[in-house]
């Protein structure tokens, strides 16, 4: 291609792009002008306040407009659907890892790629999926549930959301293979054989995710404590509200040490002084990490406990067995779970005194979890009837899986057992029972419940939804159980290849993992199919209280 042709083509391209940009600008500015006029007629000095006031408290279906409007519900929808999107990306990575492990030697996927998938799967699932769902449901359900008086921090929420998305996206693009623990000195090795050549980008991405999460948490806490309707005292707030409060207080109080740690880690790329052997110890970072790393796994569980209470009481038409004990145990979880982080490092040479402290604390942290599960079972037990809808099935399965995963957790708190199985698939089985059974299951339950609201009155296919549930439940049990058994025999986790001796346990886990993947495809098909049908029901839903407009407006009249 000659230079002239090239210049002409570039010229045309620039011209077309400019026209397109101008057209978009024209559309947006006319729309803004129209809205400003309407707002002025309604007596609002500020356009954005008018938009928020006219949107909030109303059911908010999914549309592209959620990306541009900053009311709490739009932010909630953004978080929920971004979380789901990342769940499918992370899930695909998980299934790819399983497929690679069909061979004890990494022939299908190279170890380098496998390690990238490993890192990305964990980070995406925790920071993008679990946190996205937790934030999303809080933003979406709480405003109507607590009948907010005002909704005036939308811009900041939006900034927090975009930082979080940008962080997640950059983390995936960084192709980091440092594992979600980010332990230096490995994370400082900027080679494909260490943490990946672009690992510095991953550290920045993590910092962005953290800033987004902390900002959003503070805003949601402000929504709950300050903007709540005056006739809802804290003592009568739904258990879900409390669950969100405890989660976010935990997030805000335990994230800063690691945020500082990440900053120091980033500095170490240029001038290694913080986590290198001559001036410090790499274990210092491990401790900063787990001070946050343990609470984060509770952050991925506690809001879903709240949703479980909600769903159980809806479908049994009863009250929570003991409101006081429900809130107390969630509160205890907040305090105790910040004291057990050392059990991730029991074998790292903390010394006998700390081993005793952390193992004992780890036994104690089980008490509130056990009380929570007791409370849920007692609510089901004393109910007159139980409607076994798809969300209810997910919740019952979550209780079942949480009990198994929880008992495995108690075993891990025992130091001799911990020495034998720490770092093996036993641990992976322990938290996949909880994350797939509870975090994923309850997210799906809440999603199904809110689907008519999201989709403006459309109804999902109940039969397909049941299939989704059964396939996911069976697959998740098979996968986690095989891991638990294999792990007890010493099958190491986070490896691209393994001793052929472990083949049977890997194979059954692979089968389980693929089954879970198929289950999520059924979900996707169901949602896509249902969305293309005509609206058939009231878009209001049972987690969405009908709100009367007795609220004080954020501005204007």
């Amino acid at each position: 291609m000659s230079t002239e042709t090239m210049l002409i083509l570039v010229g045309i391209l620039v011209g077309v792009v400019s026209v397109a940009i101008f057209y978009v600008y024209y559309l947006v500015s006319t729309r803004i002008e129209t809205i400003s006029n309407v707002a002025e007629e309604e007596g609002y000095p500020d356009r954005t306040v008018f938009i928020r006031d006219s949107l909030y408290g109303k059911p908010r279906p999914l549309s592209w407009s959620i990306l541009f409007y900053d009311d709490a519900k739009s932010i909630g929808l953004r978080y929920i659907f971004t979380g789901l999107l990342f769940m499918f990306i992370g899930g695909a990575f998980g299934v790819l890892m399983r497929i690679s492990l069909t061979d004890p030697n990494p022939t299908i996927i190279s170890p380098t790629i496998y390690n990238i998938l490993l890192t990305q799967h964990a980070t995406i699932m925790i920071y993008m999926f679990a946190i996205g769902m937790a934030m999303g449901f809080a933003y979406y359900i709480l405003p109507s549930r607590l009948r907010l008086k005002r909704d005036n921090m939308g811009h900041l929420s939006s900034v927090a959301y975009w930082m979080w998305v940008l962080g997640g996206t950059l983390f995936v693009l960084s192709k980091s293979s440092m594992r979600w623990y980010m332990y230096p000195p490995l994370s400082l090795q900027l080679t494909p054989f260490g943490a990946g050549a672009y690992n510095w980008l991953a550290v920045i991405a993590m910092e962005l995710i953290f800033m987004g999460m902390v900002m959003a948490s503070v805003i949601v806490l402000k929504i709950i404590f300050i903007d709540r309707a005056d006739d809802i005292p804290l003592s009568q707030m739904p258990v879900y509200g409390w669950a969100v409060v405890f989660t976010l207080v935990m997030l805000v109080s335990s994230a800063p040490p690691l945020m500082v740690g990440l900053g120091m880690l980033f500095y170490d790329f240029f001038n290694p002084i913080f986590f290198v052997t001559s001036t410090s110890t790499p274990l210092a970072f491990a401790i900063l990490f787990w001070f946050w790393g343990h609470p984060i796994v509770y952050i991925a569980v506690i809001p879903f406990f709240g949703l479980m209470y909600d769903i159980i009481t809806r479908f049994t038409e009863t009250k929570v067995y003991s409101y006081f004990s429900a809130v107390l145990s969630l509160g205890l979880l907040l305090i105790l779970s910040e004291l057990v982080w050392g059990h991730h490092l029991l074998n790292s040479g903390l010394g006998v005194d700390w081993v005793i402290f952390f193992t004992t604390a780890s036994f104690i942290v089980v008490i509130p979890s056990a009380l929570t599960i007791f409370n849920m079972i007692a609510t089901l037990w004393t109910a007159k009837k139980i409607r076994l809808t798809t969300p209810m099935l997910f919740v019952i399965n979550a209780i079942f899986d949480f009990i198994i995963g929880g008992i495995m957790g108690v075993m891990l708190a025992d130091d001799p057992i911990n020495q034998a199985v720490h770092g093996t698939y036993f641990v992976t089985g322990h938290f996949h029972f909880i994350f797939v059974g509870l975090t994923l299951g309850v997210s799906m339950a809440a999603f199904y419940l809110l689907f008519p609201t999201f989709s403006n009155g459309r109804v999902y296919d109940e039969r397909l939804a049941k299939w989704h549930f059964y396939i996911t439940a069976v697959g998740s049990f098979l996968m986690s159980f095989s891991w638990a058994v294999g792990g007890f025999l010493g099958m190491p986790r986070a490896v691209a290849g393994y001793f052929a001796y472990f083949q049977p346990y890997q194979d059954s886990a692979i089968l389980g993992g693929v089954i879970i993947g198929i289950g999520q495809l059924v979900f996707l098909y169901n949602i896509a199919k249902s969305w293309s049908t005509e609206p058939a029901t009231d878009p209001y839903n049972i987690l969405e209280y009908r709100t009367e407009t007795n609220q004080v407006m954020g501005g204007g009249k």
Binding site: N115, Y181, N347, S348, V421, G423, A496
Partner: protein
């Protein structure tokens, strides 16, 4: 039984089970301090115990015995004799696990750890690195041969 009593009863049962578990754990830890990984500089090597220097690096384990011989990815020990592993790392954090003996100890750069164990049955057992340490982490594994 009313609601409150049921709750108290359940809480008491949970508390008793967990307290019992915690006490058993405490008893083990206090009674087996040399079997718990500890920093090398604040614990003595038990008497009658042979020291094996372990060096983890990307991506192999190297064992140096008291007679200054060295093996890589194979650990030779004798049944019925106590050994103390002094574990170090040259580059990143590793974690040595011998699953059938329940021995696990981190290899941290510049932070040598020490743990003692006594193999009882002759045979060939696996050991492996269980702290992700880069590209060939999965190859950081080998066999422990216990001779009678």
């Amino acid at each position: 039984m009313n609601k409150r009593q049921t709750e108290y009863l359940y809480a008491a049962v949970v508390l008793i089970v967990l307290t019992a578990a915690a006490i058993v754990n405490l008893g083990y830890v206090v009674g087996h301090t040399s079997n718990i990984p500890q920093p090398e500089n604040n614990s003595a090597v038990p008497a009658n115990s042979s020291v094996i220097q372990v060096l983890g690096y990307q991506w192999a384990w190297q064992f140096t015995y008291s007679n200054n011989t060295t093996t890589t990815d194979v650990l030779y020990v004798t049944a019925g004799h106590e050994y103390t592993l002094q574990v170090q790392s040259r580059d990143v954090i590793h974690d040595l696990l011998i699953p059938s003996l329940g021995v696990q100890v981190y290899a941290v750069p510049d932070h040598p750890n020490q743990v003692s164990f006594e193999p009882e049955k002759a045979g060939k057992y696996i050991f492996e690195c269980v702290e992700y340490c880069g590209e060939d982490h999965y190859l950081m594994r080998g066999y422990m041969v216990v001779s009678p």
